[in-house]
Symmetry: C4
Subunit: 238 residues, 4 copies
């Protein structure tokens, strides 16, 4: 039995939620689970269909993207996960224990339009207090240099330029590509990706019904977020 059995199981179960929650077709998504103390994460192997995954097939990778354990190639998006853990979880100290990347239909549609998802309602405000940020396209140099790592760098620099707190804003669209989300656990990362897909769909509909719709007023945004996430949160059980 491996050293990272529990981490692999967490990553495996979260990956199996991708088809269950209809967040991607075929193999187009991946989740990782992070062990901050050990400095490694478990991630889906590249290109393997979900029904063929097992907990043992999850690849253990360190923050430089080197495979520490596992016989399969890790997801091609592994360097993006590594950068997000390094910068947001280690450097910034945000409580991030899981990352997900999907190609879910409506989130990708906004990413392809290279537009942040406006905050129109409480379904959105219950989870994050800002629009869902969308990075610009990667530059030609970044793409030709080290594409997946630069995707992570772009996410990080976009958050820093907007002064976004990655623990509070746990989802992002990469322009022309699609969504990444994260959370305190791999399971919560999947949950946040499902939230993002639903609010992306609702926001598109909202603009269809009223093309000049303005965002929700700040005082409602704050209230909804605080009742679920603030120091006096009263949503859920104690």
């Amino acid at each position: 039995m491996g050293k990272y059995t529990e981490l692999q199981r967490e990553a495996y179960e979260a990956n199996m939620q991708i088809p269950a929650q209809h967040l991607a077709l075929y193999t187009w998504g991946n989740v990782s689970a992070f062990d901050k103390a050990a400095g490694v994460f478990a991630i889906k192997p590249s290109g393997v269909p979900y029904p063929e995954l097992t907990p043992e097939s999850m690849v253990i990778v360190d923050l430089e993207g080197n495979v520490v354990e596992g016989k399969l190639r890790p997801s091609s998006d592994t360097p993006t996960h590594a950068v997000i853990y390094s910068e947001f979880a280690v450097s910034d100290g945000a409580k991030i224990g899981g990352i997900i990347h999907t190609h879910s239909t409506y989130a990708v549609s906004w990413a392809q339009a290279v537009k942040a998802v406006p905050l129109f309602g409480t379904t959105h405000a219950d989870h994050i207090q800002t629009e869902v940020p969308c990075t610009p396209y990667l530059s030609r140099e970044a793409v030709q240099n080290d594409y997946e790592k630069e995707t992570g760098n772009l996410i990080v620099s976009h958050f820093r330029s907007l002064k976004l707190n990655p623990y509070e804003v746990n989802m992002v669209l990469v322009g022309g590509h699609g969504p990444f989300a994260w959370g305190a656990t791999a399971d919560k990362a999947v949950y946040n990706a499902a939230v993002l897909e639903e609010v992306s769909h609702m926001a598109m509909n909202t603009l269809q019904i009223n093309p000049s719709q303005q965002p929700l007023p700040d005082y409602i945004i704050n209230k909804h977020y605080m009742r679920k996430h603030g120091p006096n949160a009263y949503y859920g059980q104690k």
Copy 2:
């Protein structure tokens, strides 16, 4: 065996219809069942996933929002339910035995656009004779005062200002938030929420096909409503 076993069972079965009818993701919806004689209602506990619910987990609450029986925290929307029962069922005497709140996709999209759902066809007129009302945003004062209770107050005052009969118009959108619906039983409340979701989807499509579409003529609206709900209704079995 508790005093409210039957009421809890009714609330439980209605809550389980939320995922079955695809009216909300995860825990984003709640139903209550009201016992007018006892002055209490049974409601979903806050933040508990549907598959973990049991009849016994339904919390019994009075019309001031105080927990009368149950170990779990009731839904954070409990004060909204309490106001609607107090004002519509008790004060106005409308036959309301159940209330539902969901975040269903198309109903929320209209709520986020802060627009009433126009009455374009008989699918809608079979159930209510008016557009589905949509309240404005809550005021800053109301949000900061007692958010969920004020949500109930806003619904009630909106109905009164429009002179809507809450027994006949059994659904509403809260601007920037989402739908509430009610009915003679908790089960019928769920049914009305499913009606609202479907007519919200159809109305959005209708405006896409014809952006200047006018509402259905009154004489068709009246006919459809009366054949199902009037004194000489002839829809369904006797």
Copy 3:
């Protein structure tokens, strides 16, 4: 064992296809099966949920709309079915053995927009050679006189004014209401309702992609229809 056991079974099985093909929520649809020689049809009882239906519960009705056999009230749309059988199957001699009425989402959306569904592609032309006709709203007089019978009359008069052959054009939208479809059997009527729902969805999308899209050229329409329905049809097995 009743005289109409086989007819009831045909109607029952076709009605059970309504939820299976997602053509209506709850009880919002009905199918009948017609025995031309006997001058009667079997139809769904009014307001009974699909899971509670049995073959025996199908009500036998004559062409004046009188119940010939059965303990339950027939569908409230029974007079519409009766008129269509009387006029199209008996008077015009079209081979119509089944009729369906649904509230399927996209077909209703076009009906609510009071617009015929344009013939944009071969998916449509494989089934009918014209746009899907849409009647205007019923007049006030017709609604107040005998609503369901007048709905049938409106469909018939609309077909006659457009010189449409009801055997070839086996589907219609009633303005502000929704779709009716028919076919040589009850089962084929359901098939045609599913076709109508799909081409309604595709046509709405097509106009979204290209708002000025023109109909398919006539020579392609004719070819597609004839290869499936003409004297030298070569689609399907002999």
Copy 4:
């Protein structure tokens, strides 16, 4: 046991993926599997519902469209498949072992709008480097001459006029009709049809969110395609 048992099994399994992946209603789609050495392909029989298919029911046809083995009539689209195999697989030498034709909702919607699907994001670029080409309508002469064969000819001439490589661009829309896709195996052809349906949906949404959206920059397109398909591809297992 027939000579083409394995080819029939491959075609059968791929055809059964059409309903499983929601790529067509009823019988509206067909897949063939090609044996280049033998110069024959196995294809779905015409008009037979998927649940009634068996491996043995797959019809063996040569590149002139003559039935070599099988009791049933082959799909009416057989001559289109034959032309694509003859021209792309035999003449051009592209590795094509399977072809699919469907009436999937969003791909048909673009075909009905007679518009190529723009390349807006990496979901699309992961599979092909160009927009999804859409042929114009067939000419009157072609339709009246030999419709299905001319459909194949139109696809081939459209690819040649655009200088598209049919091994790299493995999907096409026929204007006013719908999608064809192909791949190294019948199974991969189905996969490509599912990709086409998903990117068609995403592209329609993208234009709804931003009607003036421009295509993804070339340098991102190339990167995504090469990481999956280039000589140094690093997606998937070795």
